[in-house]
Amino acid sequence: MNDRRFNALLGFAALVIVFIFAGFLFTLVVQSLPAVKQEGAAFLYGSEWNPVTTHFGALPFIIGTLMTSAIALVIAIPLSLSAGIVMGEYVNSSWIRSILNTLINVLASIPSVVFGLWGIEVVIPLIRKLAMLVGAPPYGAGILSASLVLAIMIIPYMSSMTREALMNVPAGLREGAFALGLTKQEVVTGIALPFAKNSIFAGILLSLGRALGETMAVTMLIGNATRIPTSLFSLGNTLASVIASQFNEAASDVHRSAMMGLALILLVITMLAGWFGRSLMSKGMGAYGK
């Protein structure tokens, strides 16, 4: 062993990691070619997904993915921001703070399939009752059920990012504001939140990335219909859930190839959300008091 060989070994491992990522893109592109060739650009905007007539358009799933994630965000953002503000600004006793932290971490680490199980046994019956109340088809499963559980799944993540962003606000700013006689609310909404807004927004984007790619809980709750969802109560599918529910039973090679294409679309969407989020995050850590 010498330094040169040691460095070569490290370089090799680094290359392997890069190749894994490049290989992911390469495999997905190559494997999705047959379906893309057959469908052309209609693969992206076609609204029919039918393995029997071998027509594959990804639109219902793209809409399903964006719809469930958007609804989940609408539900999760106010709840998570509140929870983050309370944990970061209002809780002074250190043991209550550590209990809340532990609870949030505990929930962030619960596997998605367990949330799916909870959703099937608890959320679906509730949504079924609600659907009957408003006269919608009482499937129970569907867009709303999936979005609700998705929201619950990203709340721990989003609220701990909000809390961290608020705790990064320099104490001097806060103390100065209190010294001028500002109320707690004025300090929070006028000083702390504006200072932390980039990091908070980054946290929201990173949570969105999770929601977009979330598979198991959504697969178990969304009802797996290959139509464009028309209401909160309709059955649907996301890019991830259609792969999970159809890949093993692929009817033909083109069907499987089309699902590789869906995986590629999903990868690109989540990568964009992640990059955008991380670049905001580094911006948020930057200059003092923007």
Partner: protein, 281 residues
């Protein structure tokens, strides 16, 4: 007169302050209550199905009551062992690369690849490993499942190990180099031992993260109703059992799905909490 105007303003601001406090406390309370509720339901429902048979018996044929999920417990352990054997050396070496070349263009490039890998949806890992391993082997296997889980672990472990390497005081490294030790020996004999507990924590968190993953296993490990110790054949796992059982029409299996969920949650949580308390020390 002037005093009264300020007093009035102050009262308004005070009222706004109290209103804001209520407006954040109520939703936060709802969140905390909801999270407690979920946890409590997993514990209460899961505890009902825990008994001796549950841990040590195989699955009974469809519709028969009784039996257990030993095949899934053993399967999960085999999958995690395979995954960590692959992920630990690679993440250690890649983290060392980042440590050694810190700030260089290549290291920054690798770092952004690692961050991007961390954001890849786990179902995508499943389909890619399917075409990399399952198709050439012509069979679902514990091996392919382990490989898929190792890719789930890699980015998390690399960034955690990198952080713990960077916490080793520079003076240790400088002292060893000043004594004339070659760089690689400084790394192996000074830096790695000093970062040892951090590396252990990264391993634990990697295992905790991978243990609950279901999506990468659907098309790789696939699942197996029988106890199997064959790495080249399909194998069961706790998350797969939860997914499969809750879809079935049998109440007994629904009950077992809750049991498996509790088992999985306890496993993941005890790893997380153990590491959390270690870190504080």
């Amino acid at each position: 007169m002037e005093n009264n105007v300020f007093a009035g303003q102050y009262r308004g601001r005070k009222r706004k302050d109290i209103f804001f406090r209520i407006a954040v406390m109520v939703p936060a309370g709802i969140v905390i209550a909801l999270l407690f509720l979920i946890l409590a339901q997993v514990v209460v429902n899961g505890a009902k199905s825990l008994n001796f048979d549950f841990f040590f018996q195989q699955q009974k044929p469809f519709g028969e009551i009784g039996g257990g999920i030993v095949q899934a417990i053993v399967g999960t352990l085999m999958l995690l062992a395979t995954a960590i054997v692959i992920a630990l050396p690679f993440s250690l070496l890649a983290a060392l690369y980042l440590y050694e070349h810190k700030g260089s263009k290549r290291a920054n490039g690798l770092l952004s690849v690692v961050n991007t890998l961390q954001g890849i949806p786990s179902i995508v890992i499943g389909v890619v490993i399917y075409s990399w391993v399952v198709v050439p082997m012509k069979t679902f296997s514990a091996l392919s499942g382990g490989i898929a889980l190792s890719i789930v672990m890699l980015p998390l472990m690399i960034s955690m190990i990198k952080e713990s390497l960077e916490m080793v005081p520079a003076s240790y490294v400088e002292a060893a180099l000043a004594l004339g030790a070659p760089r690689w020996r400084v790394i192996v004999e000074i830096v790695l031992p000093a970062a040892g507990s951090g590396i252990l924590e990264a391993t634990g968190l990697g295992i905790a993260r991978a243990a609950g993953e279901t999506a990468p296993l659907l098309f790789t490990a696939f699942g197996n109703p029988f106890l199997s110790l064959n790495f080249k054949g399909p194998i069961s796992a706790l998350p797969l059992v939860i997914y499969e059982y809750i879809k079935s029409p049998y109440d007994d299996w629904h009950q077992k799905a809750w049991g498996a969920a509790l088992l999985l949650v306890v496993f993941v949580l005890s790893l997380n909490l153990f590491i959390g308390t270690r870190k504080k020390r």
